[in-house]
Amino acid sequence: MISRLAAQIVKELLSLLRDPRSRLVLVGPPLLQLFIFSFAATLDVTNVTIAVLNDDSGRWSQELVQRVEGARFVGELIHVATPAEFTASIERREAIAALRFPADFSRKIGAGKPAQAQVILDGRRANSSQITFAYLNTIANDLGAELRAAGAPGGARALSPAVRHWFNPNLIYLWFIVPSLSGILAMLIALIVTSLSIARERELGTFEQLLVSPAHPIEIIIGKTVPALLIGTLLGAVMITAGVFVFRIPFTGSAVLLAGSLMLFILSMVGIGLTVSSVCQTQQQAILGTFSVAVPIVLISGFTTPIENMPDWLQLIAQASPLKYYLIIVRGSFMKAMPPTDIFANAWPMGVIALVTLSSAIVIVRRRLH
């Protein structure tokens, strides 16, 4: 039985790696993607364009505009002359935010009264525009604090809370994105490799031969699990290594426990992929099935939006996303020196998902036998 199983595994590996093109697409692109997307996927706001319509000819609006122009997050500042251009700059997405100073802005400040300026933001890019507004607001508040200090020497400075970001004090986005992508890209590869495997055999007619062979459904599933597990885990491990040595992200946790969690995570993905594959007749169905599973898994994992923001029923479904647990473990292992108890607490649900999905794949394959 062992030799039969070994033969199966070798055959699966060969069918994946024999073709030079499929060898290439298995290994090359995911690594390339890691580098491109790590730099692309930033929710930080830099290099944005801001439009300014200044009806005020006084000193203070100039002062504020100059500070905005000099700010690190601003790439370009465009001065517009008419309200029509002001509107168009936002509508055409030329600017993400547009500042408008009323004619009495400097006069009010000169008279010691509170002055207001309007900021129009592009709600189509709500996330970036909210961050842009927070940056602009900081500049305005700083100016306000200076004015207040100058007006009333020794007067109380406005109280503001000191915000400290633990584990990643400068909020470097790469530290978040690289560990997360190691999970997502490895997951996609594992899913595609497995979901196409049974469907391809079925399309070519070799699945029936496999079923009439002495191999038990459990052996068939194991034979298809091992190569995908190897490839997925290896790829994930390479990306984590790149995170440590190329991107220089601090790694404070346990490498062994992270490797174990990665294997468990890929195993649960292989289970999902094989379940999809066992119900599909063609590779086209399998790939569509994979995507209708993979997209929700990524979206509810907490990668793009925090799970806490989701409605209750969706939070409940999110508990079934293996990626959610892996992301907690991988981020924790990189930055938080996550203790083993916390890792185990997040690892066992992946084990349960793997067990359920792999056994359902076996059941479905066995049913085809009868």
Partner: protein, 250 residues
């Protein structure tokens, strides 16, 4: 007073810090401290309540269309190559153009139907406004399908094997549409090289116009240049495919 956030999730940490500062500022203002000397009054156009689903759903339509246009087309045509039936098709009196148009038209129709279904669901169930016209929405989708189908066709001509085609479609179609289209991440904030790369991602031009057609209205001044970009990308894909296919027949 100190606020401590979890920096392992930088975006959330950023928002939480800013919200905490806002709460304190409001509290101080409520306790009769003088109003800030300089105040900025924000107004979020097109999306005053800053609802994220209002800009995420239009982006999601672009992802679905990429899957139908690129992924399905790449699979269905490479299947013909894989099974060797493409040669059989080519030996029939039907011209190569007829074969390809026949292969692509159903997916073109499917893409347009998907747009209609997704848009109806977004408007009725998720309360996303459609401030532009249905005509503009369909016109934009039809134009986007040109590069999407062209990419699928090119992939199938290069791969000729469903497994390889699926991988390439995933990596060159789906992931760029998700990560490089400006749907989730701001293009202006990306490094120069990657910003240049986004110009050849058709989904980038589609996402920007979709968000406009839903949230602000028919802005033809923005639509027309973006449509031109999509058509240009499509033309390149079709040309390369034509050259590749002709060569391989000899």
């Amino acid at each position: 007073m100190q606020v401590i956030t979890d920096g392992t999730q930088p975006n959330t940490a950023n928002f939480v810090g800013a919200y905490a500062e806002g709460v304190v500022r409001n509290w101080l203002a409520g306790r009769g401290q003088a109003a800030a000397p300089v105040e900025l009054i924000p107004r979020f156009w097109f999306n005053p309540e800053v609802e994220s689903r209002r800009f995420l759903l239009p982006g999601a339509i672009a992802i679905i269309m990429t899957m139908i246009g690129t992924l399905l087309t790449a699979m269905v045509v490479s299947r013909e190559w894989e099974r060797g039936t493409m040669e059989a098709l080519m030996s029939t009196p039907a011209g190569i153009l007829e074969i390809l148009v026949g292969k692509l038209l159903p997916y073109f129709g499917l893409g347009l139907i998907a747009t209609l279904v997704c848009a109806s669901v977004s408007v009725t169930l998720f309360d996303v406004p459609l401030r532009g016209s249905w005509f503009a929405l369909l016109a934009l989708s039809a134009v986007f399908l040109v590069p999407a189908l062209g990419q699928g066709l090119l992939i199938s001509a290069l791969a000729r094997n469903q497994f390889v085609a699926a991988q390439i479609a995933l990596i060159s179609g789906f992931l760029p549409a998700l990560l490089l289209s400006g749907f989730l991440f701001e293009i202006d904030s990306m490094p120069l090289v990657i910003r240049a790369l986004t110009h050849v991602v058709a989904a980038r031009w589609f996402v920007a116009t979709l968000q406009s057609v839903f949230l602000s209205g028919d802005l033809w001044a923005q639509f027309l240049p973006n449509m031109a970009f999509m058509l240009a990308i499509g033309a390149v894909f079709f040309t390369i495919t034509a050259v590749k296919t002709r060569k391989s027949l000899d």
